[in-house]
Symmetry: C2
Subunit: 119 residues, 2 copies
């Protein structure tokens, strides 16, 4: 996660095939590197995240733009945005206020289903 | 990422609506917490990952089960598997041999498209 991209933001926005297209975004604490959640972006949500510095997603359950923390106060300031080698997923490194998960846990990935011992 | 799940693995496998259903998995270095890649799982790939301890995915480009590193040698030992509050995405914490990205970069998220200064 050290190189700069040669693509312009406009080109990145065009990674979305249409206004409705969704791509996944991994959300990571910029200091601890803890993975906080996985969400989805459409082009507009990515544009808003860049323009405002506030992590903004597409809510698949509510079917609308979702400014993270708008109702809960648990906002995420976008520190850095990366995208992957295939250009079809994103990584937001954020400064998390409060917790990321609606359950009250810091990370949405608090349920461990398998760990080390089996192999 | 500290609690245990009360769900059984069999119940987790049933998070997949069908044999063909795909869910995203975030792949993270278990020591540094670096996010290495985002991939997709079907039920069989998750079962194989648990059974063998080798990270196994569904390749959407080749349309087949993909044992990571099988051809490149860049295998991933699965240290821990978590899933999120909604039960529709996974997190693999792995021990990465070599690099994760086919470009030769350690992480697939090596292209930074936006960083801090703008806000």
């Amino acid at each position: 996660m050290s190189s700069s991209s040669e693509k312009t933001l406009a080109e990145i926005f065009n990674s979305f095939d249409s206004e409705e297209a969704l791509l996944p975004v991994i959300v990571q604490d910029h200091l601890s590197n803890e993975v906080l959640m996985l969400a989805y972006l459409n082009r507009r949500a990515l544009e808003m995240s860049v323009a405002t510095g506030r992590a903004t997603y597409w809510s698949r359950s509510r079917n609308e733009i979702w400014v993270k923390g708008e109702s809960s106060g648990n906002i995420q300031r976008v520190v850095e945005i990366a995208y992957d080698c295939d250009g079809d997923s994103f990584l937001y490194r954020v400064e998390q206020t409060g917790v990321a998960c609606h359950t009250g846990e810091r990370s949405c990935f608090f349920r461990i289903i398998h760990s080390g011992g089996l192999h």
